[in-house]
């Protein structure tokens, strides 16, 4: 006659080991979840901060575009070259804790308003634009990277005379 098998239950020899194994498994799972959450929060924080830095940097561009004398805007050495020409430069847009520089590529170009006279780069005529007003869109585009993703942000300032 076959002897009935003894059930493996609390109190059995070696059951403590099983409990410890389960506890360590749970702990490792918890650690992995905590690590993943930490990395996610860290990434989101970095994303927010770099968006804030890029916004602040572009506020400089808007301020400069609003203040630059009109003669400088349309000159040969304009910081906003006439489209399709453009000026591209790598800029430091801010620093993270520890003084880690955050860099981005700034591209500037300007586009004439369609109603500018031909001499002002547009297709307007003296009948459509009798006062000969001249308008230019100054575009600043900032290209930057957060993690593996690339972003760009643009600001346009319209100047007339």
């Amino acid at each position: 006659m076959k002897k009935p098998e003894k059930r493996f239950s609390p109190g059995c020899r070696g059951f403590g080991l099983v409990e410890l194994a389960i506890a360590s498994g749970l702990l490792v799972s918890l650690a992995l979840i905590a690590l993943k959450a930490t990395l996610q929060v860290s990434e989101v924080q970095k994303w927010t901060v770099i968006q804030s830095l890029s916004d602040s940097y572009l506020s400089r561009e808007t301020a400069l575009a609003s203040r630059l004398p009109f003669s400088d805007i349309i000159s040969e050495s304009s910081p906003w070259p006439d489209f399709p020409s453009s000026e591209s430069q790598e800029m430091e847009i801010g620093r993270l804790p520890g003084g880690v520089a955050v860099n981005a590529v700034l591209v500037r170009t300007r586009q004439a308003d369609a109603n500018n006279l031909v001499s002002g780069g547009g297709a307007g005529t003296l009948s459509s634009n009798p006062a000969g007003t001249e308008g230019w869109k100054l575009r600043s585009i900032l290209f930057y990277q957060i993690g593996e993703r690339s972003y760009y942000k643009a600001r346009t300032t319209f100047r007339t005379r």
Binding site: L17, L20, L27, V28, A31, Q45, S56, R60, G94, V100
Partner: protein, 164 residues
Amino acid sequence: MTLIELAVAISISLVLSFAIVLLLGQQVRFYTQLQKFRFLREEAPQINSLFATILSGADSYRIYATGNTARSPDASPARSGTALRLSFQLSSGEERLSVVAQESEGGSGLHYYRADELGSFPETPSWTISRAPTETFFSNENGFLEIRMRDQNGSEITYGGNPD
């Protein structure tokens, strides 16, 4: 329980304890790191918003080397400095002055001083914009107002703006 089982149980307990300590350490490091980003994440956008509101209401600005200089009536303005004097034209035609200054004495921070109708500034700040920046520079080098702020952890952010 045999001696071997006891040894294995103690070893696993030790490993578990070590893992818990490691986890705790990681959480502390993470919290510290979060705090270091606080200036850029929370304070800087609020300061920017306040500056945008204050500057949009101002009619002109002058930059001074220090807050004390900005508050004295005969001081000469500079191209860059740690204080900004703003002029507000009231509807009555009167001029009202304010000073925004980064100061280290009397509670380090970015302070706002509002002059009375006679143009006298109070001894103590009217209010504190923020205590987070340890350095703030105002500059007019590029033809517009630039505000560069740093905190104690080396974070740096720059804003540009113009009064209306």
